[in-house]
Amino acid sequence: MKKIIKIENLCCPNCAAKIENNINKLDGVESCVVSFLAQKIVVEMQDSKADDICGKITRIAKDVEPDAELTF
């Protein structure tokens, strides 16, 4: 499934790139793009692992940028 998550308060595109890299490494994620300008995470993932992945995405984002706010 494809999911679009809104992400606000990212400090710079470099953080966005770090988040993108880390999400792409998650098990069950087929592809992920984080756009700093569109303030969006678009993630393509296996349906069965979706809940688990969404939880991990929040943690990854907060690790890189503690101020980040995600809206699922």
């Binding site: 790139a17 756009s35 700093f36 569109a38 969006k40 101020d67």
Partner: protein, 612 residues
């Protein structure tokens, strides 16, 4: 400015005031300890957030975080006794961050303002009264009313009323478009003059506005090669600079024994180690370029297409509906004995019952109701034309084969289009030429394309050789291939792609050339308003059918790529230069701060030029 930005502005002002006071006060003391205490106040005021963050990152083992590197640089400066510089590094870092975030917010907003086509409400007609409702809640066949000044909320058909529409938000065209009953109306336009009653034809999510917004929003996700390059570069940039800093701090210190000087120089490396200026300005340039294009009614599905479009080498056009208007019209009338209008009337009478496209254009050109009271025995002969009896006399309208069959003397005519010969009784009365008109802006657009660097223009058409040759002659198109079946177009396109070094663009109307649009390096669909299939198949979508938008798109792409290159060279160049100067001992902390945040800000401002 949002709350976060205001807070940061307050901290910056407070720090600046405290720093000024600290500089004054420190003039009265020689004691190192007192100086440290005095400058610790502004340092912690501005730096507490950065220090906290870097401590958190350190615990997670992320040593290359920019906050951490900034902290090391400023603490290092403090230890070396450069108190003012230590505070200034953090102060200007904060100013830069603030400026960056304001500039990005502004550009985000101005680009989304360009696409301000979202309808806020719809007036639905229910039990004879009008109610305001959310366009999302409308259903097919609902009746809505659009008053003057309101935005059309949904795609539909006008059932009552006539008006003019402002389509500039969709097409970039400022000339208003007329609309009357039974015509299709598209969401996103603004109704200017009359009240319109509209029957809903599509739900909101399938309407033009929703499709366009989706396309523009997703365009930021199709990243270009330059963007990927920059992200990859950024990943190695920081570790390399930090490693260089370590080398600069250690090796010369061991050789010369002057550790303080060399550590000071190494700290400058840490300040310029953040790749933000690059990483921010490149996608922003593309974003702004895409924004500029959508303002002109050109929707680009991603920055990678901007990159490719800037290198356009060959442009291949479909003919009908792309270079020409796609509707057939009477272009010439050549009577033998009677007046032009009499011959046209005769033709319209003969074609009266036919619904062939040729007949339709003859009737449209005549524009009146022909007298058919004495028209009998109408017979449509496929591939020939029409024979009928008019007031007891034979009436023929068709091609030369029809005339020869009926024994009427008639000469073949050379014309740019389809020739219809007309005869009454046994007498030849003349002929009418019907052809597809070339769009008024096609010729200029092709000339401009050549000026934009498209070295080769090609036309592919299913039409006859003579017609194709004539159209290419008028438009100065370099090559053409005629009498093609739809499958042939892909074959020819592939041939051009294999020959070309750079981008091959295909331009079509999106109706029956979806496979060709998809196969081309860039597929451009025109006249896309209301055509979902065109929007799906193409990489670049022209909202109206003006071919002159293509050179405009190439110009925007070229300008955007120019700005992207400037930013890459400028940002990397300044940083490398400052590092060189630092090794040579000519750079100080102030210059390093400029190379970091100053360069970011300049690159952002430069990126925004792509929008104009």
């Amino acid at each position: 400015m949002n709350r976060k930005q205001k807070k940061s502005l307050k901290t910056i002002i407070a720090t600046a005031v405290i720093l000024a006071a600290a500089i004054l006060v420190s003039g009265f003391t020689q004691s190192r300890l007192i100086k440290i205490i005095i400058f610790a106040v502004p340092y912690l005021t501005i730096g507490n957030k950065v220090l906290k963050k870097s401590f958190a990152m350190l615990r997670k083992g992320q040593m290359l975080d920019e906050n951490f590197l900034m902290s090391i640089a400023s603490i290092g400066a403090f230890i070396l006794g450069e108190y003012v510089e230590a505070v200034a590094v953090l102060l200007f870092y904060s100013v830069g961050e603030l400026f960056e975030s304001v500039a990005v917010g502004k550009s985000r907003k101005s680009i989304s303002d360009l696409m301000d086509i979202c309808p806020e409400y719809a007036n639905i007609e229910k039990d004879g009264t009008l109610q305001k409702t959310d366009p999302m809640l409308l259903e097919i066949d609902d009746i809505i009313v659009v008053k003057p000044g309101e935005r059309v909320p949904i795609d539909g058909v006008v059932i009552d009323g006539s008006s003019t529409l402002d389509t500039s938000a969709l097409t970039g065209e400022s000339a208003p478009r007329k609309i009357a009953a039974e015509e299709e109306i598209f969401s996103g336009c603004i109704n200017i003059s009359g009240v319109l009653r509209v029957r809903v034809r599509k739900t909101y999510n399938n309407s033009t506005v929703a499709k366009i917004l989706e396309l523009v929003e997703n365009s930021a996700l199709a990243k270009s090669r330059s963007e990927s390059f920059i992200t990859k570069f950024a990943r190695v940039y920081t570790p390399i600079v930090v490693a260089c800093a370590a080398v600069v701090a250690l090796i010369p210190s061991l050789i010369t024994g002057d550790a303080a000087t060399w550590i000071g120089r190494a700290l400058i490396f840490l300040v310029v180690s953040c790749p933000c200026a690059l990483v921010i300005s490149v996608p922003l340039s593309f974003f702004a370029g895409i924004g500029a294009a959508s303002k002109a009614g050109i929707l680009v599905k991603g920055s990678s297409y901007i990159e490719r479009l800037a290198k356009t080498e060959t442009v291949i056009f479909d003919k009908t509906g792309t270079l020409t208007q796609g509707n057939f019209e009477v272009t010439e009338i050549h009577p033998e004995h009677m007046s032009d209008s009499d011959l046209l009337e005769l033709a319209a009478t003969a074609e009266y019952y036919s619904d062939h496209p040729i007949a339709a254009s003859v009737k449209k050109a005549y524009g009146k109701q022909p007298d058919t009271s004495s028209l009998t025995d109408v017979n449509e002969i496929p591939g020939n034309g029409i024979s009928a009896m008019l007031g007891g006399e034979l009436l023929l309208a068709g091609n030369i084969k029809l005339m020869e069959k009926r024994g009427i003397k008639c000469e073949p005519r050379n014309a740019d289009g389809t020739v219809i010969h007309i005869a009454r009784g046994i007498k030849y009365e003349g002929y009418i030429v019907i052809s597809d008109k070339i769009k008024p802006d096609s010729q200029q657009a092709i000339a401009e394309l050549k000026r934009c660097g498209a070295a080769n223009t090609v036309m592919l058409t299913g039409d006859r050789y003579e017609v194709a040759k004539q159209v290419c002659g008028v438009l100065c198109i370099d090559e053409f291939h005629s009498e093609l079946f739809p499958g042939d177009k892909v074959k020819y396109l592939e041939e051009y792609i294999s020959k070309a070094k750079n981008t091959v663009v295909f331009v079509g109307d999106g109706i029956n050339d979806a496979p060709v649009l998809a196969r081309a390096d860039i597929g451009i669909a025109m006249g896309a308003i209301g055509s979902d299939s065109a929007i799906e198949a193409a990489d670049i979508v022209l909202m109206d059918d003006k071919i002159s938008k293509i050179p405009t798109a190439i110009r925007i792409a070229a300008k955007t790529m120019g700005i992207v290159k400037q930013n890459i060279v400028f940002a990397i160049g300044i940083k490398v230069l400052v590092m060189m100067l630092s090794i040579a001992g000519f750079a100080n902390m102030w210059l390093a701060v400029f190379a970091d945040v100053g360069v970011s800000v300049i690159a952002i401002l430069n990126a925004m030029r792509a929008m104009r």
